[in-house]
């Protein structure tokens, strides 16, 4: 009996149908909004992981909102998508956040953006709209994207008080001291150690998911590149892959390899920058100067390959927008040789500095059990025992055809988050060289064709931060009905709250940098 047959057998009343239109993405339709029993079954009996939960407004055509629960089972390349209808007149679904803190923010985001209630949520406050917003639900279809909201009134956030003798609160942000994105951190401290950190994100919320529903698909590719500007190629590729799957567009082999190379160059540039930034946050500035130099070499290569230092305007539905000539291809190998040597020197410099290591080791520890509970993904997860990597677990582009190792550590401190990056730089160099050696000849982009309406598909890309998920439903006239974007950061922000506890405020910047999460990717 297959897994899906077993599922139907176990829950004969709940499971209405199983749709296997898309390979390795079966969609299990339920008869109502309650997915708790099936979730428990997946998690406990199959050791699966709840990847994400999101919603869709189908009230006009079907009278319901749909909730989508995406599961990933270790060792199985297939995703399972459980689709649970919430009748518009009921407007409520049972919350699972008390048992699964990993979806705490995501359930609240559904409440805020769709106006349907996560009943029984342990902390049902707003997360994705600030407290001073009027009572609107932007992702409902009846809400117009250009709606002009009245001036906001009242407190932007209502914080929980932290009481106790000698306890004080330090508000930081949204405009920070460094050149970073905006968010608000409210530290409760007793002396130097941090007792409790409250985060307020969504300052950069700019209506991205709503905008996806209002742009022609060929323009939406550029919007995907602007979800998180440091992951432009990863998000762009994830979006294109979802459309390609939905519209049955086959990407030529050459383009799959070119994408692989560019995805790894994005990882290299960001990892090198992060290793330097972690060093500079504990005062080892010269290491950052070298990292900045190496990063410039990589950005220069990116520009040679795509016309953009940050890899914009290259990925396209069906492949990539431009081919490479021999000189461009030669530049890859030449640059990476220098990068490899220089990065080795940089790491040696950091490793031989005891005062630097002293600040990085045992700082900002995220314990593996907490990481698992919070559903942490990507670099932050792999440093805390979470052995996940979309490239290996659900291969895409040319990742199924190249060999690489996924580094995993248990220590979960700042240094091991740096160590994961250092190891991954080596692996990325290997991947790029292997892909380059096998780079096939032939077309680099599939011919354009109309995108059929009413198709749904999910895609996943291991961005340099971690697992990026896109889910689309295509609509009429080359538009989208829905595009859900899940940046790895949304799972990982609550992990920072755990990791800083008991650390001193002065170590917050380096702990934050060691995760280096996206504000824009979270806020969208």
């Amino acid at each position: 009996m297959t897994f899906l047959e077993e599922l139907q057998d176990m829950f004969p009343e709940q499971v209405v149908s199983v749709d296997e239109t898309i390979y390795e993405q079966p969609v299990v339709l339920l008869n109502g909004p309650d997915a708790t029993a099936i979730t428990k079954y997946f998690l406990e009996d199959h050791g699966a992981r709840l990847v994400t939960v999101f919603a869709e407004d189908r009230v006009a055509p079907e009278g319901v909102f749909y909730l989508y629960y995406v599961f990933d089972k270790a060792g199985n390349p297939s995703w399972v998508i459980v689709k649970a209808p919430v009748r518009a007149q009921d407007g409520s679904f049972p919350s699972m956040a008390a048992e699964l803190p990993a979806i705490n923010w995501q359930e609240r985001e559904i409440q805020d953006w769709f106006g349907i209630e996560a009943a029984g949520h342990p902390n049902p406050r707003r997360v994705a709209l600030h407290d001073n917003w009027p009572d609107v639900h932007p992702l409902r279809k009846e809400f117009a994207i250009d709606a002009v909201l009245p001036p906001f009134e009242g407190e932007q956030h209502i914080y929980r008080p932290t009481l106790g003798e000698g306890v004080l609160q330090i508000p930081v942000g949204p405009v920070h001291a460094g050149i970073i994105e905006p968010g608000h951190f409210n530290f409760a401290v007793a002396g130097e150690p941090i007792l409790y950190l409250q985060l307020r994100m969504f300052y950069t919320h700019k209506g991205t998911e709503k905008l996806f529903e209002n742009l022609p698909i060929h323009r939406a590719v550029f919007l995907a590149e602007s979800i998180s500007g440091d992951s432009a190629f990863s998000h762009g590729t994830a979006f294109c892959m979802a459309i390609e799957l939905a519209a049955e567009i086959e990407v030529p082999a050459r383009a799959r390899y070119m994408r692989t190379i560019l995805l790894e160059l994005e990882r290299l540039a960001n990892h090198v920058g992060d290793v330097g930034a972690i060093a500079t946050d504990v005062g080892f500035v010269i290491a950052n100067a070298h990292a900045g130099r190496v990063r410039e070499m990589l950005l220069g290569l990116c520009e040679t390959l795509t016309g953009s230092r940050v890899l914009r305007g290259m990925v396209a539905i069906g492949g990539v927008r431009r081919d490479w000539d021999a000189a461009q291809i030669a530049a890859i190998d030449d640059t990476l040789q220098v990068v490899e040597r220089e990065f080795r020197d940089l790491v040696g410099m950091i490793e031989s500095s005891d005062s630097t290591l002293d600040r990085l080791e045992h700082t900002g520890i995220l314990r593996p059990e907490k990481a698992k509970m919070l559903g942490v993904v990507g670099v932050g997860g792999r440093a805390s025992g979470i052995d996940l990597d979309v490239r290996r677990d659900h291969p895409y582009a040319a990742y199924g055809e190249v060999e690489f190792h996924v580094p995993v550590y248990q220590q979960g401190d700042v240094w091991h988050r740096a160590q994961v990056r250092i190891d991954e730089v080596g692996e990325s160099l290997r991947i790029v060289r292997a892909a380059l050696a096998m780079l096939p000849q032939g077309p680099f982009r599939a011919p354009a064709k109309p995108i059929p309406p009413g198709r749904c598909a999910l895609s996943a890309v291991e961005g340099w931060r971690g697992e990026i998920i896109h889910w689309v439903r295509t609509g009429e006239n080359n538009q989208l009905e829905r595009c859900k974007v899940k940046d790895p950061s949304i799972n990982n922000w609550p992990a920072i709250v755990e990791a800083v506890e008991g650390n001193i405020v002065a170590d917050f910047p380096v702990i934050n940098k060691s995760f280096n999460l996206s504000y824009s990717g979270t806020d969208r």
């Binding site: 600030h130 917003w133 609107v136 932007p138 809400f143 117009a144 994207i145 250009d146 709606a147 906001f152 949204p174 405009v175 001291a177 460094g178 050149i179 994105e181 905006p182 300052y203 950069t204 919320h205 700019k206 209506g207 991205t208 905008l211 742009l215 060929h218 323009r219 590719v221 919007l223 602007s226 979800i227 998180s228 500007g229 440091d230 432009a232 100067a289 070298h290 900045g292 130099r293 990063r295 410039e296 220069g300 520009e303 040679t304 390959l305 795509t306 016309g307 953009s308 230092r309 940050v310 914009r312 305007g313 927008r321 461009q328 020197d345 040696g348 410099m349 996206s518 504000y519 824009s520």
Partner: protein, 296 residues
């Protein structure tokens, strides 16, 4: 320690010499799309392909009005790829910063053939003409600010693309400190606000407060397609569009994101502006920012 010094000597000087000499950039770099208006046979494919709506084409009878807004251009190259004539090509020009929003908009009118292609160019106006910057600026900074320009960066809603390139100004390759410029942690220490966008509803208040906290004379530089005009996000329920929807802007720096040299060009242009502001200042007293206007 020995190892660090050894490395430093071995690497030598990493800093590029822009703007004293022109920037050495990759052949493939996509800068300003250049429109040869007389040779351009049809504006419609480029307008349809433009992801941000920076190219607009509208017909009234046999006259076509075209507007190209470099402020919202993301330099993707789709306009050139979509136009099968010699009218549009991508250049390597990146020094596009201007002191007015209007200067970034190129308009043209064409008379039309029956099939909708262009017959003749009737008139055209605007478009960015880059201001030469060069060495004179560091002299200006020295004179005005005592070798110091303090910049406060404000992310008012960006995707973090512009921030990456702004951070790159601090690396040894672009090394903004060689001009006596540095990034400061507080707007109270700043002469210049370098603001990225689009300005979100949630950052509006923070941006206003930051502006108010910056002492006069001050200059505001709007960075990137989103900071100038909202970029691909435009204005919507959550986005107010460009920075000048909330605070007055002195210099606009196009790009998506602007490369570090383009940022440097814009910052240097703004320094010239700051000098004029200082000369025209009523008294030595800090008049503070009471003139936060809501420009349309």
């Amino acid at each position: 320690m020995f190892r660090i010094l050894q490395k430093t000597f071995r690497v030598g000087m990493a800093t590029k010499d822009y703007p004293q000499v022109s920037a050495r950039i990759a052949e493939q770099f996509r800068g300003r799309p250049v429109f040869d208006l007389a040779a351009w046979r049809d504006a419609r494919p480029a307008a349809a392909a433009c992801p941000t709506g920076a190219i607009k084409s509208g017909d009234h009878g046999i006259v076509r009005s075209v507007a190209i807004d470099y402020g919202r251009c993301i330099f993707c190259g789709e306009c050139a790829a979509a136009s099968d004539d010699a009218g549009v090509r991508m250049s390597k020009e990146f020094e596009l910063a201007t002191m007015s929003r209007e200067e970034l908009v190129l308009t043209a009118q064409f008379s039309l053939h029956a099939d909708g292609t262009h017959d003749a160019l009737m008139n055209s106006t605007g478009g960015p003409g880059s201001e030469p910057i060069g060495m004179r600026v560091s002299a200006a900074i020295q004179e005005l600010l005592g070798r110091s320009l303090a910049i406060r960066e404000v992310d008012a809603g960006s995707c973090n693309g512009c921030e990456q390139e702004i951070v790159a100004l601090n690396n040894p390759v672009h090394d903004i400190e060689r001009f006596g410029m540095h990034f400061v942690a507080s707007p109270r220490h700043a002469d210049m606000l370098l603001v990225t966008g689009p300005v979100t509803r949630n950052m509006e208040l923070a941006l206003r407060k930051t502006y108010m906290a910056t002492p006069d004379p001050k200059v505001v530089v709007a960075v990137g397609a989103c900071g100038i005009g909202g970029g691909i996000f435009g204005t919507n329920y959550a986005s107010l569009g460009g920075v000048d929807a909330v605070i007055p802007v002195d210099v606009y720096v196009p790009g998506c994101p602007p490369r570090p040299e383009a940022l440097l060009h814009g910052i240097l242009l703004a320094v010239g502006r700051l000098r004029r502001k200082d000369a025209g200042r009523p008294g030595a007293e800090n008049t503070a920012a009471t003139s936060v206007v809501h420009r349309k």
